[in-house]
Subunit: 283 residues, 3 copies
Amino acid sequence: MSTVITLTTDFGLSDAYVASMKGVILGINPLVRLVDVCHTVGPQNVSQAAFVLNTAFPFFPRGTIHLVVVDPGVGSDRRAVVLRTPLADFVAPDNGVLSYVLEQSGAGRATEDGLRRIGPDLEAFAITNPRFWRSPVSSTFHGRDIFAPVAGHLSLGHSPNDFGERVDSLVALPLTRPERSRDGTLVGHILHIDSFGNLITDITIDDLSPAGKPVSIAVGDRVIRRLSRTYADAQREEIIALFGSSGHLEVSLNGGSARAVLRAEVGNEVRVCQSDGKQREGQ
Amino acid sequence: MSTVITLTTDFGLSDAYVASMKGVILGINPLVRLVDVCHTVGPQNVSQAAFVLNTAFPFFPRGTIHLVVVDPGVGSDRRAVVLRTPLADFVAPDNGVLSYVLEQSGAGRATEDGLRRIGPDLEAFAITNPRFWRSPVSSTFHGRDIFAPVAGHLSLGHSPNDFGERVDSLVALPLTRPERSRDGTLVGHILHIDSFGNLITDITIDDLSPAGKPVSIAVGDRVIRRLSRTYADAQREEIIALFGSSGHLEVSLNGGSARAVLRAEVGNEVRVCQSDGKQREGQ
Amino acid sequence: MSTVITLTTDFGLSDAYVASMKGVILGINPLVRLVDVCHTVGPQNVSQAAFVLNTAFPFFPRGTIHLVVVDPGVGSDRRAVVLRTPLADFVAPDNGVLSYVLEQSGAGRATEDGLRRIGPDLEAFAITNPRFWRSPVSSTFHGRDIFAPVAGHLSLGHSPNDFGERVDSLVALPLTRPERSRDGTLVGHILHIDSFGNLITDITIDDLSPAGKPVSIAVGDRVIRRLSRTYADAQREEIIALFGSSGHLEVSLNGGSARAVLRAEVGNEVRVCQSDGKQREGQ
């Protein structure tokens, strides 16, 4: 079957770890299509992997299998899971790397213990059936010995519950959301900085008040006085704010890196002020 | 159809932008073959992308579709185009990134306004028909929302003029050519520096006078006294000059980086002196 | 035929050299599956390429063709070869890059002149028949002009001896092996440092004495007092030793880079002490 399997890891580009996973998959399903999402996720950076996956999976065909191996707990008792959503399947350690997928796929609410209940349209299964694993399983590379063969067999049409018993909740990261401060300022956060140096925030178009205008956006002590529509709206070397291709508010430097100029880091606040549409006296 | 689509971008390797384009393409044509040319083109470096594309496209099978998204003008009124040549199709912003392709495919002469007329064997079309685009189209990522779906549908056999109206000229960069100075020295330029640190110039074998020998090649104040045939002709750590695999004169350091040792940059002059074949007295 | 061809090179990620090889292959066999093993092998680092290949090839399906182009001698009289093993085919320069493959595939003993005899289950052939090459062959890029087309035609089912005459030995690197010092210490070496900064040694589980315990492992002046089973056994920022996924003893820093903290380099010694199982008095 010519299903697509995508791969997202923190294995970097200078070793054969990714290739050995692909070899295992092709040994199981020679016709599968393999697509790299990203292998330069920071070592063991689960939240970065979660974000990167989130910017890729909605654009793949229905039935795509997304294999994610950013797995600091490999060899411990962390679970490995298969998650089936109406759009796609996910094979990953149960460490929060699927947090955005759960958010976007209609998972239920978070429980007190950092888990998230599986919503009605989703199914999740612990990977416990060794029948599909490589043997022997190494204690340090479940990507090659467990996740890759499970993804391979899943691409052949196996039901997700062939791999283990159903579970009703998965680990979820505490995803930041912008908050409204007392003076009406919307306080969001930098979720991700892309390789152009664009600062991508957790603020979406729905978080802005449609009536309230004009807008000012502050990152550190830099204030941006308007929303742009596209990068080309900016003067050369102008810092701008716009809603980017992921639907999130981005701060960007035309012809350079906003990260470098603003010395910004993931987690920093981005503050958006909207007036109520009426310019107040004296302002 | 198992057509090949290649991808050349400045999206880097740490985001899912390339993967999301591939997902869109595979959703349109699940059987297409996807090949990465390069994703580490310098941000918005159109001339670098043009050069890199030029070293790849001649080696792909007839009918390959080359998708190039180095697009500083995304969201502005720059055109998006499909170019059909006898060898291949190209889907790209009309910003000069196809300059070498036009040069090599027999485009007509440059016009005064930085455009280049489309030669008799070529056809070009503006991408204006939104029927094939993702909807809604973001204003910042036409790679995913316009170029990728157009390439996908083109790979299914759509005619290029399904995507928009024919155009008779495309933007072309002013490509440097070596010039002959008054004393007969050939003055070329570094077009590209590859990841080995080899300096690749705009001087080709045809630019040298076949009779004139011997040759000396100068980069900055370093003079190389002969042409080598291959890297292995050099002593360890010797700087040599040779005609490389792209047919261009290269300056190379055996076992190291000529870029680093000569502190060379793209655009620097490389000067070639040939005597007229007769050694002059006193030299 | 949907054979797999893998690619291992030192061409880096910022040029189109790898893509041009893929274009040549797809022009010969449009149905072949192409998988990148690694393209960031250090320039001309044959032993690193040999190691990286070794961590990938055992995991690919039978009949996979592994194309390796780390070729400092391109254009010289170094041979180009096809090696057939029971598991896979290899197309590479004859410069030692297949050393581990020979070791693992049952090659005969090393000869005095740095060659290794081809064992009974293996066949090797010099690539001398220009019928399958691109024409003209450049003197600097045999990857594109000789190795890629040979791999392409091999994937179509050509016999390896269609490409040239049989040879009975191949160049082999002197692979390091741990040695036992007079006081019983096992002295191994760092073979490879992966992108996590893990130090991978030439010591395998078989090199340890099964009876002898406990173990201490020394890298420089850092001593590790036990063997861990997996990365997750470690405290945050603890340096540990364990047998990794390649079956080799690794020294690793949980949550960081052992390379950086221990200032370790490929070739450094790693010393393993095992007592004879009886704790001595006073220790």
